[in-house]
Structures are given as C-alpha cells and as structure tokens.
Symmetry: C2
Subunit: 646 residues, 2 copies
C-alpha cells in the first residue's frame, strides 16, 4: 500500500481561488463555517485518523470499487455490456461518487499528484458513461434494464445523483470550479430538474440525499433552479407518493409532511439526510418555520431515540429508528452512515442556531460512532455499531466482502458498502467541523490539535494554534499567532458533561460552566488560554424509560463512552456475569479506566424464569474499561457498554 499523501504541514493558505472549502455553506444563520483552508488538523487524535484515512482508506476503497466491479460498471455502460456485466446493488454508483468526494476534500487539504491523477482517471470513466441528455446511472434505462425513474422507491437514481453533486461541490470548493466532474454533475442535476420540476413528474426519491446536494449546488452556482427542485422534493414528501412497503411509508419518511412530523422515524440514514436537506432549504429560503420544525424533531429524537454513543437507528430489520426509548444495546443498529447523517444534520443546526448542544452531539457521535467504524489501520469497518456483543465474532476474511452488515467484527467491504466511503469523505473534510466564525470572532466547537486562521471583518486577522492530547487528557492550549493585534471574541464550547472545567486566561484559572465560555480581548501574538476539561471517569445512568438498559450503568470519560471487552476478562462468558458496584466510582490506573464490581457466575436452570430474584453478588473483581471506539481492534471479543449493577 503506497502512502498517497504525506502528513508534513506546509504553510496553510486561508483560502484558495476565493472559495471556502466547506461541505455546507449557509447563506444566513448564526455561524459561518471555517473550511479546510482555514482549519488544519495537526496530529493528535483526529489528525492521526485523518492521516490513516488519506494514507490507507482512500486507496483501500478505490481498490475495492475496482475489485467489486462497481467502477467497472461505468466502463461496461460505455462498452454496451450492460445489463449483463453489471455488478453490485442499485446504489453502487454512489460509492464511486463518495470516493470522489473524499478524494476532492483530500486534495483540498493536501495537494498530491498521484491522488490527482487517480481522481481524474475515475472522473474520465464516469464522464464516458454519461448519456447525451445528462442521465448518468449504470442500473437503469438500457435495453434489458428497467426504465429510468421507474422505481423511485428502491432504485436510488436520485440518491446517486445527489452524491455525484456533493462530490462535484467538494471539487469546486476545493479550488476546481470548472472541473470536469462539476460539469458532469450539473448536467445530471439539470436533467433531474427537467424531469421532476414544477411541471414534471410529481414524485420524490425513496432515499433522500439529493435535497441537500441541490441546495449546495445552488449555493455554489447561484442557479435558483436547483434550489427550487430541492424545495419541490421536500414539499412533496410525506404525502404518500411512494408505494407502501413492508416497512411502512415511514421507512422513507413519506408518511407525514416534513413540517408536521414530531420526531425522526423510519430508516435512520434517510431520516437524517432528509432533515439535513430541510435545514439547508430553510437556510437558503429563510424559512424559519421549517428550521424550527426540524430543530424540534431533532430535540425529541436526541432526547428519546438516540444511543449514548450518539448512534441512531435501533432496528436491524429496516435500519430504522425504534419508538421512543427503544434503544436495545445488543440490537443497536446504529449504522455508521446514520451517525454521519446525524453529524451532518447537527452541524447544519449548529451553524443555524449556534447552540453548543448541537456541537455536543457532533462530538459524541464523531468519537463514539464515526470513529468506531474504521479499524486502526483504516482498512476494515463496522457498518452497524452494536453496544453489546455477547460472543466474540469470527475474524473477517480480509479479501472478502461481508454479506452481513451487523457482524461483530470489522469487514474490509460489504455487499452494501455505504459506510467505508462515508467515513472516507467525512474524515477527509473533518477540519470543517472544528470551528466557525461570526462578526464577533471565532468559535471552537471541537477540541483537536489544529491551526485556525481566518479573517474577520475590518481585516481582523485570526491565527490560533490549538494543542491538545484530548481526549487522552483534558488540557487544551490555545495560542494566538497573529502578528497584528486585533480585538475579537474566542468562544469555546464547554461540553455538557464537563462539570468543573476551568479556563486559564493570563495565568488565572476560573471555572467555566457547560455551554459556551467566551474571552473577548485584544489578542496579541503568543497570548495563550488553557482550557482544562475534567477527565475523571464517570458513571452514567439511563432514563428509566429505556427498558433495555434498566439496572445498568455506563462509564464515560471526557467525550468517550467506554466499554468492557471480554478479551480483558479471560473468557467471553465472564462478560455475562459481571456486575458493577455503582457505589464505587471508576478510577484511572495509568491510562486505563477501572470500575469495581463482582463476578457472579449464573447457575443454569432448565427454565430461566422462577419465583426468586437473583441476589448473588459473587467475588469482587476489577473491571477494566476501554474506549468504545477502540473495541474489536485487538482481535474478536465480546463487549458491553452498559454494565448491570447487581
């Protein structure tokens, strides 16, 4: 495996070609996102992951797209070998586009000739397959294939087009506004507007995605037709336009108009992508009512339908949200892509409202869902992210795609392989989630070693460096490097869990409360703040309405949810037999968190329901805990996040 990008830092340009390298560019809202030219990750927890993404995952994904034939589908289209030569599911084109998006961000972050030529080569193959009227999909429309747009429920044509457009937007904002990919995407989007526009076919896609893509394409091009099309798709939705399915119309959010819904429901990726598109539309059109509706749905979903990890979607059967408080840890689907959808949505809400609660969920979800998916080497992934695995899985073959999304081990690729490409594009663009700006100054939402540089109005230059070993420890040093002093406000998110955080200004620490801490001053070069977040491990108790974890506690440390792996207990069965003592707080021993409890082997009965409650406490035992996102990296293991108390 060749390393395709080096990680040495060059001087950071603040913007290139006047573009902002951001996935989302709202036109109003509280905060302006700082993109890849303004924020650079520099080592640390997230920098290392971004490095692995660049050095391993992008190539890994590209190789699997070739090997699986999903890239070859475009060649087969050109060569007239479809449908017989087609490989993969109906949405396989989108994985190619998501790789292109990841490559586009990676090039914006760190130009690289090899990556550039691989990117161009893929774009050329796609370009060749586009039809004269702009249609581009390897699954439909040819002799022997179903007609175009004939299966909006399940065909994923508009979903694929949406990802094509998002890749093109990334490319344009990465400094290539006239790139071939951009032209391809515009022609494909134009056709969508022709077919599904005001006077066109009155329908919606089974899988939302194109809505946010079209708004971004509008923002990028200024062409209002794309915005109008996004508005049409969102307005039509929820009116029973799609056929009913065995999962019900809520599966694709066609059950209730988007403004009338109370909570996210149905397929979790569909639900979060749709909501993200709705926030984009609300921003672009100034539709406060729509923004309020989505914000309220988000709030209820976070309060009632979200795992402790930030994971969304409880059902395996339909990859869907359960009812309120239905959050079984052992059957948590918590799809990686739904976590990414949730981050995309919360990011948009953060930009719109500026509230730290949105950044809180982004942090929680990045650390405990998105980061859990890839293995340490960036070449194997969880698709679903269970919070409880009773038995160690079988090691996944490194050269086989997994037919099953819910395995207990990470797999290199899947029959449905949306998650690896989604992780790739998210990690490549991760810098865009760190900080924002407004008229008063700069806001840091996520703590990572990074340099941040931007220009506020009146030419106020902001250049700061963040140094931290977070989440290994809670010390975050923030230093100004701008040679020209200027007055602005630095806002720091104090996470909701960070009770007892302190902020040291000019050597004087003071307590800061969860929410936002601000420092307004005339910044001089070398001015330094030190934020100290409390990293003592802590017990977390669930709402009593979450039936599935009644009588259990979890342990968190900083932003990380912890777990117990059976590999640390000896045999896997021991994981079924440990109980934690909630009266003894967990402690750090070296870099390890240890909880105290008992090991009480259960007696085997012929019938597991009886007249007496179980009261055995067993032998006292230490329970070593590791970050949940690390689990499964030391070989197959049973694992649990929620530990019974007795």
């Amino acid at each position: 495996m060749a390393t395709t990008a080096t990680h040495e830092m060059s001087d950071t340009p603040t913007t290139r070609h006047g573009a902002h390298a951001v996935p989302v560019a709202p036109s109003r809202g509280r905060l302006r996102p700082l993109g890849l030219y303004e924020v650079r990750l520099e080592g640390g927890f997230w920098g290392r992951r971004q490095h692995v993404n660049a050095a391993a995952t992008l190539r890994h994904v590209e190789e699997w797209l070739e090997r699986s034939g999903w890239l070859g589908n475009f060649d087969a289209a050109v060569q007239g070998r479809l449908p017989s030569a087609r490989r993969g599911r109906e949405f396989s084109d989108s994985e190619v586009y998501k790789l292109l998006e990841a490559m586009a961000w990676e090039q914006a972050r760190q130009p690289d000739d090899d990556l550039a030529s691989r990117f161009d080569a893929i774009v050329a193959r796609i370009a060749a397959a586009q039809e004269p009227d702009g249609y581009l999909n390897t699954m439909f429309g040819r002799p022997g294939q179903a007609p175009r747009w004939s299966n909006l429920e399940w065909g994923h044509e508009l979903y694929c087009t949406g990802h094509l457009v998002q890749a093109a937007v990334a490319r344009a904002r990465g400094g290539h506004p006239d790139d071939r990919l951009v032209m391809i995407a515009r022609r494909a989007a134009d056709l969508v507007c022709d077919v599904f526009g005001r006077d066109g076919r009155e329908s919606v896609p089974g899988h939302p995605e194109i809505e946010m893509a079209l708004v971004e394409l509008f923002r990028m091009t200024g062409d209002g037709r794309y915005l109008e099309q996004a508005a049409l798709f969102l307005k039509r939705r929820g009116r029973h336009i799609l056929d009913d399915s065995e999962f019900g119309r809520s599966y694709y959010q066609d059950d209730v108009p988007i403004r009338e819904a109370a909570v996210f429901r149905g397929h979790a990726v569909r639900a979060t992508y749709l909501a993200a598109g709705a926030v984009d539309l609300a921003d672009a059109t100034g539709d406060a009512e729509l923004l309020d509706a989505i914000t309220a749905q988000w709030q209820r979903t976070v309060a009632r339908r979200t795992y402790i990890t930030g994971g969304m979607g409880a059902h395996h059967r339909d990859e869907a949200f359960g009812e309120d408080f239905v959050l079984p840890p052992d059957r948590s689907y918590s799809e990686t892509c739904a976590g990414i959808g949730s981050v995309m949505l919360a990011h948009r809400l953060l930009l719109a409202h500026g509230d730290s609660r949105f950044a809180d969920l982004i942090e929680r979800t990045l650390f405990n869902v998105v980061c859990t998916s890839p293995a340490h080497d960036g070449r194997a992934f969880f698709y679903a992210n269970t919070l409880h695995e009773r038995r160690p899985g079988t090691p996944a073959p490194l050269d086989e795609a997994s037919p099953r999304a819910s395995s207990a081990v990470r797999a290199p690729w899947f029959a449905v392989s949306c998650c690896p490409t989604n992780v790739a594009r998210t990690f490549a663009s991760l810098a865009a989630y760190i900080a924002t700006a407004d008229a008063d100054g700069v806001q840091i939402h996520q703590y990572a070693s990074a340099s941040i540089s931007t220009v506020l109005d009146q030419g106020r230059q902001v250049e700061i460096k963040v140094e931290t070993a977070y989440p290994h420890d809670g010390v975050v040093r923030i230093r100004s490097h701008a040679k020209q002093p200027s007055t602005w406000t630095l806002s720091l998110r104090i996470p909701a869990w960070a009770d007892g955080a302190t902020l040291e200004v000019d050597g004087v620490p003071s307590t800061v409360r969860p929410g936002t801490a601000t420092v307004t001053r005339r910044w001089q070069e070398h001015d330094e703040l030190v934020l100290r977040l409390p990293m003592t491990p802590r017990f977390v108790h669930p709402d009593p309405r979450i039936d599935a974890v009644r009588g259990c506690v979890a342990v968190e440390r900083g932003p990380e949810v912890l777990c117990v792996e059976s590999i640390d207990l000896g045999e896997a069965e021991a994981l079924d037999e440990i109980h934690v003592d909630p009266g003894i707080p967990p402690v750090m021993e070296g870099s390890r968190v240890i909880a105290s409890g008992w090991h009480a082997p259960a007696a085997d009965d012929s019938w597991p329901y009886g007249p007496s409650p179980s009261t055995a406490r067993g032998t006292p035992t230490a329970i070593p805990m590791v970050p949940y996102h690390d689990w499964g990296n030391r070989g197959p293991s049973a694992m649990r996040v929620w530990i019974p108390t007795g």
Copy 2:
C-alpha cells in the same frame, strides 16, 4: 358467516376404521398418543376455542384463500394462465394444504356434510393441477416460471409438498385412507423420492417440513422409501449444501449437521420443524443418539432461548432465534408458527420420553402463544407475539391483508399468511395433545374438559370424564365412567409451577409435587379424583442473564402469563411509568389479578443519560392484569408482560 359445525356432543367412537386420528403416530417411545376418536374436548377453555375454530376460522381462512387468489392459482395452472395470473408468495400453495389438514381433522372430530363437500371441492381443484409425473406446485416449472427445484433455498417446493402430505395423513387417519387427497400426496411424495433419493439430487429444502411429513407417510403406508427420503434430507443437512444468505446458513440450519448442533438457531419455524422431523426419524429408526441430540438441543433452547410465554424466535429481521438469553420483550418476534412448531416438537419428545417437562412447555405455549394469536372471534390473528407494545396500534382493516407481520393489532390475513392456517389445523386436532396411554394406563398432560376413552391391553376399557373450569380455577374433576371395572394407572401431570397442588382420592386430599402424580387402582364406575392446582397469582423473576428484562418481574397465574394493558390504565404513556412493588404479592379481586406499585411520570430531559440514577417512586397505584392471550381483544392498547420493579 354460517356455522359449519355444531358443538353438541354425540356418542364418541373410540376408533373408526381401525385408524388412530393422531397427527403423530410413533412406533416406539414411552407413550402412545390418544387421538381425536379417543379424546374429545367438551366445552371449557379449549373446547370453546375449538368451537370458534370450527365455526368461524375455517370458513374465514377458506374465504381469504379464494379472495387472495391462492386457491385460484391451482385453477390458473389448469387453464394455462400461469405465471401471469399467479398470486401470492412462493409458499402460498401450502396454506391451501394447511386448510385441508384443518378441515380433515375437523371432519374426524365432527362429521359435517357441508364441510365435507367444501373439502372435496378444494381437493378436486388441486387434483386437476397435478402434473402427470406427480409434480404439484403453482410457482415453478411452467414456461415463464423458474424450473422445478431451481431454488431450493427460497422456493419452498418441498415445504409445500410436506404440507400436502400432512394434510393427506390427517385425511387418511380421519377415516379416509383411500381419499383422493391421499393419492395426490403419494404421487407428489413419490416424485420427491425419485428426484432427491439416494441416486438423485443431493440437496435439502430451504424450509424443513417435508421430513416429518415423509416419516408420517411411511408410518401410514408402511412404504420405507418415504422414511429413507426423510433420513436423506436430515443427513444431508448442515453441510453447506444451500447457498449462503444474508442471514447466514444457520438461518436454514444448514450450518452444522443436526447431530452436532448444541442448540436451536436460525429461523425458529424452520428450526422447530426440522427438530420435529428428526425426532420422528429417530423414533422410526430407533436412533437413540439422534433423539438424545435433539433432546439436548431442546433443553438448552428452553433454558436459554425461550420467552416466558414459551415463544421462540427473538429477531424480526430473520424471524430467528437470538443468542442465548437474548429475549427482548419489545422485539419478541415469537411467531405463532414457531410456537406451533415448538408444540409439535415437545409433543414428539413427550411421546418419546414421557417427561412432564415437555408437557409443561406444551401447556405454556398453547396458552400463551398459540392461543394469543386468534382474536376471540377467530377471524383475526397475531403473526408475531410481542411481549411489550409501547403504543396502541391502529385498528386493522377487516377487509385487507396486512403487509406487516409484526403489527400491534390482529389482522384478518397477511401477505405471508402461515399463522392463521397453522392455528386452524392445531385447534382442530387439539384433542390429540391432551392424553396418552401406555401399558400401565392413561396419562393426562393437559387439563381441559374432555372425555377420554381408550382400550388398554387385555381389553381394559378406560372411560373417563374430565371436568374443569381451568384455567379460570384450578379444580379438575376426573371421573371414571367405564361400566366394567379394571385396574390401571392414571398419571396426572403436575405443572412445574404448581407448588402446593393437592390430589383428592376417595375424598382424602394429599399434596402432590410438580412432575407426575399417579393413582393405580381398580377403577369402578363413578370413581372420582379431584386435582386442585394452586391458582394464586405469583411473581416470576428472570434469569439475570436476560439483559432485556433486568429489574422487572412478570406475573403468572396457573398456566397463564399475565400482562398489563394500557386500556386499564387510562392513557398509553402511563404504561411507561408504572413500577410494581415486588414486596407485595399480586392478589385476586373478583376474577381480576391486581398487582401493587407506583405510577411515576418520568421527567423529560434533553439528553436521556445522566449522572444520577432515577429514584422517583411516584404515587401508589393498583395495576390490573389480564391474561396475555386475551390482550388486544378490547381494542388497541399498549401492553407489557414484564413490569419494572423500581
């Protein structure tokens, strides 16, 4: 709806045409089943259900089979209108056969001219569709259809043939050994033996069923070829002959050879049907090793993978068993057909071993799974049987098939409608599960108002009458009516839960312990025993390894599992907020069971995980409970079996 059978009793013939009207006729084993000519239900809990089955369900099922076009598929086959005119899924033929089996048992139980002519009319339509070589399936083999046997994984051809054979066996044992249906089934079975025999195609069906059917056909005809074919199917299974699927090969038990498995796994109906076939084969061939293997698997499954109701199968996604102790009440699939499969299996194990634990599970499953499925009127059904429904469902349209198997309300019919026909054939043959005989005497396993008459060796005539309001109360009166005195042993199952049961013999009560109580005497006419089973409601605690119900108790009374319905609490949300006090035993108030506890409305937080455990107890409240099998009969309701203790 015409009443198709009256419920007045006529004199009970002990046998007709020398046949035993039993679904299973083992050639060895501890106990001989008493069939429909030897046991008659006479009112009471089960007699009423059998009456509703005869008076309403059989006609209901027949109407839906017509309406759905599944019966019409046979006509379409004859008229050359297939495949275009075909309706229903690949297994729809089997529903017609299961109706025929139910009608056959019903006629054996209670001859009825109208039913007889309807039965013959259906058989005639099926007969016309059978091909010259015996092949009979409306889904395969015609121009435009997939070839015969081309999709053994999912095609269900052998499954359908198995149900055809079971219907034919019922018909033959119901006194019509030369019936047209018997001839049809034999020709179909002969073709199976030709195609899949020793020198034939070495494969297995994706859905077991034909194994037990072939053993029964052997028992009925004496033709060893059917037994050999059953043996071949069972021997080949577990050797990865079937293609892998997204659910894994364990889904159809093709992962591990049947003798080597440790526990039931995969699709629960497939697993129980397969095991039932294996017990049949073990009996017919005297294979003690095979019987022991299945018995051990059953024991482990009952101890670790069975719901308190007796329900089997936790997963919705693949209708499959979960891992050990994975028994979430709110996602319990507990398919009605899996309950019936479990009853069929436990009945076979009971006949083989004679142990009361098998009859215990039959009782539990009949009362709490099988009986839960049909509505009181016999015209709507649960397919899945959840143990916890958080919100009242929407009333099901009475004239629409439900696309969804896991609804919170009973539906008249389903897109996959295996359960209504399975309930129909089980209730029609229910008398066969009540009692058995051996050389020493008669064993009563299930308590129901019934007359039992059989002849033991040396011409000892047994004629007894059982009178009971069980499970409304626990008094069971058993009286001998044989005019000719004879000496034999009456064995009574004392249920595992029946701590403190008493048996009164000649007016003298004595305590009997769970297991089996026996009375050996020279029985005179009017001799009477009175068994008194303790019907005080009781708390039941789960094994601590069942994560999903930790911190909860259930309430049982007699053989019935009880539940709380929100319709008794006011609003549905109250069901999320009640806690039971495990220190105060539940009591009877009139005919109602009442538990004591608290109602503690939960506070809404923006994030449902926090530093403090919930301790609120709320206001004391009475919690009215109803039999689980009755739930949902008073209109949509939320419901739970397991109630939190605090």
